[in-house]
C-alpha cells in the first residue's frame, strides 16, 4: 500500500529539472518577407518571450537590383526614369531630388515657372503619400479596407492630375535638368485648385474617423517611443524626426526651390510615439494644402526649362555634388561624382526610409508582437527605396 502511494506522489510532481521550450526560453519567429503588413518584401527576425519582443533584426535585400550600378552605366538623363522606381509612391519628389543634385553638379539655373510647378507637384505628392500611409496603417491595425479606400479615393484624384500632366500615374518621369518636361495648361491648374480646395473637407472627415478613434488611440499612444537624442544620432528624418520634437525641415533649412516664398508651419510632436507620427502626417497635409493654395495663386506664365541645358551629350564638369530635398518620407539625397563623361562616375541614393529603419529594433523592444506592425507602419517604408 505504502509503495503505491509513493509512486502516485512521484508521478504527480514532475521533476524540477524538466523544462519545456515555451517556458522562459526565447522563440525565434521570422516575420516576412511575405507578411501582408511588411509593405513589400521585408523580413524581421524576431525573438519573442511569450508575446514580448526581446530582439529584432531586420533583413534587407529581397528587392535589391543595384540601382546605383545601373545609374553609373547610364547617362545622366537616362537615370531619371529609374528614379521613379525608388519610392514608387512619390516619383515626383524622386525626380526633383535627382534633378536638383545634377543642377548643383553642373551649376544650372531653373526658370521661375518650373520651380512653381515642381513645388505644386511635390506637395501634391506629399498629400497622396501621407493619405495612403494613414490608410495602410489602419489596414495593419485591422481596419481592413475601408479607411484605405477613403485614402485611395483622394489619391486617385491626384494621380489623375499626374497622369494628365506627365502621361503616367505613378512613373511620372517629369522633371528635367533645369526645368520640367511639359507645361501645365490653365485648365490643369484649375483642376488642381479644385482638388486642393476640396482636400481639407476630406481631412476633416478622415481625422475624425481615425485620429479620434478609441481603438487607434489605444493601439498607438505610448507605443514605439523614440527620443529626440536617438533620432538625431540615428539620422532619422522627415515626419518621424519631427514627431520626436526636433525642428528640422529641409524645406526651411536648405531653402531649396521657392519654399522661402511660402508661409507654412512645421508641426512638431511631443511624445515621439506612434500616435504622434500619425498625427504628424495629418498636420503636414494641412500645411501642404496651404503651400499649394499659395503656389497655385502665384504661378505666372513663362518658360519651363532652361534653354542652355544640353539634352544630348550632357556632360557636367568634373566635380561632385550632394543634393537633398524633404521628400514625404524624409531626406532624399543624391550624391553624384562626375569625371567629365556622359554618365556619372559615382551615383548614390540616400534613401530616407532605409535609414529610418536603423532604430526599428530600439522602438520595438518590450512591446508585444502585434505592435511591431503598427510601429513598422508608422516608419513609412517602401521597399523599392530601401533595397534599391
Amino acid at each position: 500500500m505504502t509503495a503505491t502511494l509513493e509512486t502516485v506522489e512521484a508521478m504527480e510532481r514532475p521533476p524540477t529539472t524538466m523544462t519545456s521550450r515555451l517556458d522562459g526560453e526565447l522563440l525565434e519567429v521570422s516575420m516576412g518577407p511575405q507578411h501582408p503588413s511588411t509593405h513589400g518584401v521585408f523580413r524581421m527576425n524576431v525573438a519573442l518571450e511569450g508575446e514580448i519582443v526581446r530582439k529584432l533584426k531586420p533583413v534587407f535585400g529581397y528587392l535589391h537590383r543595384n540601382h546605383e550600378q545601373i545609374g553609373e552605366h547610364t547617362t545622366y538623363l537616362g537615370s531619371m526614369p529609374y528614379t521613379d522606381r525608388l519610392d514608387y509612391f512619390c516619383s515626383m519628389t524622386n525626380n526633383w531630388a535627382y534633378a536638383l543634385s545634377v543642377e548643383k553638379l553642373a551649376g544650372i539655373e531653373v526658370p521661375e515657372r518650373a520651380e512653381y510647378l515642381r513645388i505644386i507637384l511635390a506637395e501634391l505628392t506629399r498629400l497622396q503619400n501621407h493619405a495612403s500611409l494613414l490608410g495602410f496603417l489602419l489596414s495593419d491595425m485591422g481596419a481592413w479596407g475601408t479607411p484605405l479606400m477613403y485614402a485611395f479615393r483622394e489619391r486617385e484624384k491626384i494621380l489623375d492630375l499626374f497622369e494628365s500632366l506627365s502621361g503616367s500615374r505613378m512613373m511620372c518621369d517629369y522633371m528635367r535638368f533645369g526645368g520640367c518636361r511639359v507645361d501645365a495648361e490653365d485648365e490643369w491648374l484649375g483642376r488642381a485648385k479644385q482638388i486642393v480646395d476640396r482636400f481639407p473637407k476630406f481631412l476633416d472627415e478622415f481625422e475624425e474617423l481615425i485620429l479620434q478613434n478609441e481603438i487607434v488611440i489605444a493601439r498607438t499612444q505610448n507605443v514605439g517611443k523614440l527620443s529626440p537624442e536617438l533620432a538625431i544620432s540615428a539620422g532619422i528624418t522627415g515626419p518621424m524626426l519631427r514627431a520626436s520634437g526636433v525642428n528640422y525641415d529641409i524645406r526651411k533649412v536648405d531653402c531649396y526651390g521657392f519654399y522661402p516664398r511660402f508661409k507654412f508651419r512645421v508641426p512638431l510632436g511631443d511624445h515621439g510615439d506612434t500616435y504622434d507620427r500619425l498625427m504628424m502626417r495629418a498636420l503636414e497635409m494641412r500645411e501642404s494644402v496651404e503651400i499649394l493654395k499659395q503656389a497655385l495663386a502665384q504661378i505666372q506664365p513663362g518658360p519651363i526649362v532652361n534653354p542652355k541645358v544640353k539634352v544630348r551629350s550632357f556632360r557636367p564638369p568634373v566635380g561632385e555634388a550632394y543634393g537633398r530635398i524633404e521628400a514625404p518620407k524624409g531626406e532624399l539625397g543624391f550624391y553624384l561624382i562626375s569625371d567629365g563623361g556622359p554618365n556619372p562616375y559615382r551615383y548614390r541614393v540616400r534613401p530616407p526610409s532605409f535609414i529610418n529603419l536603423t532604430i526599428l529594433e530600439d522602438m520595438c523592444l518590450g512591446h508585444v508582437v502585434a505592435d511591431v506592425m503598427v510601429i513598422l507602419g508608422s516608419v513609412d517604408i517602401v521597399m523599392g527605396e530601401v533595397d534599391r
Partner: protein, 221 residues
C-alpha cells in the same frame, strides 16, 4: 558655418597628431571636403560632433567610392630657352595615381542648422581594405557602413554588426567595385542567346555520348 580651413585647424589641434587635408572640388557645387587620416578618424569625428561651434550631430549620408589606379595628365608652364630667348612653354606631365577605396560622410548640424561638411577616409589596399567605423559616433552610419562593406568590401573596424546587407550571405564578390565582372551565367535564361550560350558552355558538364537510341522514332519513315 566656419570655413574648411578653420575647421581643419581646430580639428588638428583638438585631436593631437591628426593629419587633415582639404580635397578641393573643382565643380560649381562648392562642396569641398576634408580628408582625414584613418588613425585619428574617430577622435576627429567625435570632435566635430561635440564641439559647440560645429556640433555636426547629424550624419546624413555615408557612401563608398572606388577609385581605380589612373594616370592624370597635367600641363605645367616651364621656362625654356627657345631660340636663345627664355620663354614659357607648356609641358605635359603624366602622374600615376594608385587606386584606393574611399568612404564619404556628409555631416549636417540639426542644432545649428548648417552643413554639409564632407569628410572622407581612404583605404589604399584593395585586397584588405580597412577603415575605422564611425558608427559609435553617429548611429546613422550603422546600416550604411554595412552597405559599403557589402558592396565595396571595406571592413569597418569597431562596427557592432558587420554583415552583408543587400546581397545574400553566400555571395563572394563586391558588386559596386569598378573592376567587378558579372559571372557568365549570372542570369541564366531558358533560351539564352548566342553569346551567352557560348560563354555559358564553359560552366556546364558536357552531355553524355549518344548511343543511337534517340534516332528511333515511333513511326517508321
Amino acid at each position: 558655418m566656419e570655413t574648411l580651413e578653420q575647421i581643419k585647424n581646430r580639428a588638428e589641434l583638438a585631436a593631437g597628431g591628426a593629419k587633415i587635408d582639404i580635397v578641393v572640388n573643382p565643380g560649381p557645387s562648392q562642396q569641398s571636403s576634408l580628408l582625414i587620416d584613418n588613425d585619428h578618424a574617430a577622435a576627429v569625428a567625435q570632435f566635430l560632433r561635440d564641439h559647440p561651434a560645429l556640433s555636426f550631430d547629424f550624419c546624413s549620408n555615408v557612401t563608398g567610392v572606388d577609385w581605380l589606379a589612373r594616370t592624370v595628365k597635367k600641363t605645367t608652364k616651364v621656362k625654356q630657352l627657345v631660340d636663345g630667348a627664355e620663354k614659357e612653354v607648356d609641358q605635359a606631365t603624366e602622374e600615376k595615381v594608385p587606386g584606393y577605396l574611399e568612404a564619404v560622410y556628409h555631416l549636417y548640424s540639426m542644432k545649428l542648422k548648417h552643413g554639409p561638411l564632407i569628410i572622407r577616409m581612404r583605404a589604399p589596399n584593395r585586397n584588405d581594405a580597412r577603415l575605422p567605423s564611425l558608427t559609435p559616433v553617429w548611429r546613422s552610419a550603422e546600416l550604411q557602413e554595412r552597405e559599403i562593406f557589402d558592396l565595396y568590401g571595406i571592413h569597418f573596424d569597431g562596427h557592432p554588426d558587420l554583415r552583408r546587407i543587400l546581397m545574400w550571405d553566400e555571395f563572394k564578390d563586391h558588386p559596386m567595385r569598378k573592376d567587378y565582372v558579372q559571372p557568365d551565367d549570372f542570369e541564366w535564361e531558358p533560351t539564352p542567346h548566342d553569346q551567352v550560350l557560348h560563354r555559358a558552355k564553359a560552366h556546364y558538364t558536357p552531355r553524355p555520348q549518344l548511343d543511337g537510341a534517340e534516332k528511333i522514332t515511333a513511326q517508321p519513315q
